[in-house]
């Protein structure tokens, strides 16, 4: 994988626990807010989604992810770190495809910045999906 914002396949519980340790050396971060997006088994025309295959414009995705992080950090001054990872390739229903973690001194900016980052990721990250039934 060319960049640290994209990972091949699902975001596994092991990867999530590794990502969660990234802020551990910062004892000033009293709040951690995490969003995990998962593939839903939506039904369309009587068929149920079993997986989603994600693709991305990888070079632009890295640039946009960095912009999102920069914007979030400047909008919420108490934020100390922002981690985000999106899946590429096949992710089965029930598995995670997006991970966002924001650490901050106190809870208010952690929760608001995490939500803000999520909305920006959905709006700006050049990622596409193909449903598999």
């Amino acid at each position: 994988m060319k960049n640290r914002y994209l990972v091949r396949g699902p975001i596994t519980p092991i990867l999530i626990s590794e990502l969660m340790t990234l802020g551990n050396d910062d004892a000033g971060a009293g709040a951690v807010s995490i969003f995990i997006g998962k593939v839903r088994d939506d039904a369309t025309d009587g068929k149920r989604v079993t997986a989603i295959e994600y693709s991305a414009y990888e070079e632009m995705a890295a640039k946009e992810a960095e912009e999102v992080i920069k914007t979030v950090r400047s909008a919420f001054s108490d934020v100390r770190s922002v981690i985000m990872v999106h899946s590429l390739g096949v992710v089965k229903a029930g598995e995670a495809s997006l991970f966002i973690m924001v650490t901050s001194g106190h809870r208010d900016h952690a929760t608001r910045a995490c939500r803000h980052a999520l909305e920006m990721v959905k709006e700006r990250l050049p990622v596409w999906k193909k449903e598999i039934f």
């Binding site: 997006g37 994600y54 693709s55 991305a56 414009y57 070079e59 632009m60 640039k63 999106h86 495809s97 997006l98 999520l118 990721v121 959905k122 709006e123 700006r124 990250l125 050049p126 990622v127 596409w128 999906k129």
Partner: protein, 78 residues
Amino acid sequence: MAAEVRVLYFGEAQEATGRSEEEFTARDTASLRNQLISRYPDLNRIPFRMALNRTLLKGDSELKKNDIIAILPPFQGG
């Protein structure tokens, strides 16, 4: 002056064109858009935007040799 540029297709635009990239010769993005639609009428169904050298375009832009234009259907991440 018209320039040779590389066009990348993503998401549904790959299905509409049957390819992931190709070369075009165009003076600007408006002319490129017209060429794309006339070569691939199915692209008309997709409300795509364009990125020039990895930056999303807000309006039309002149093109230079070796520019990279990406055809971007609505994003679906998350």
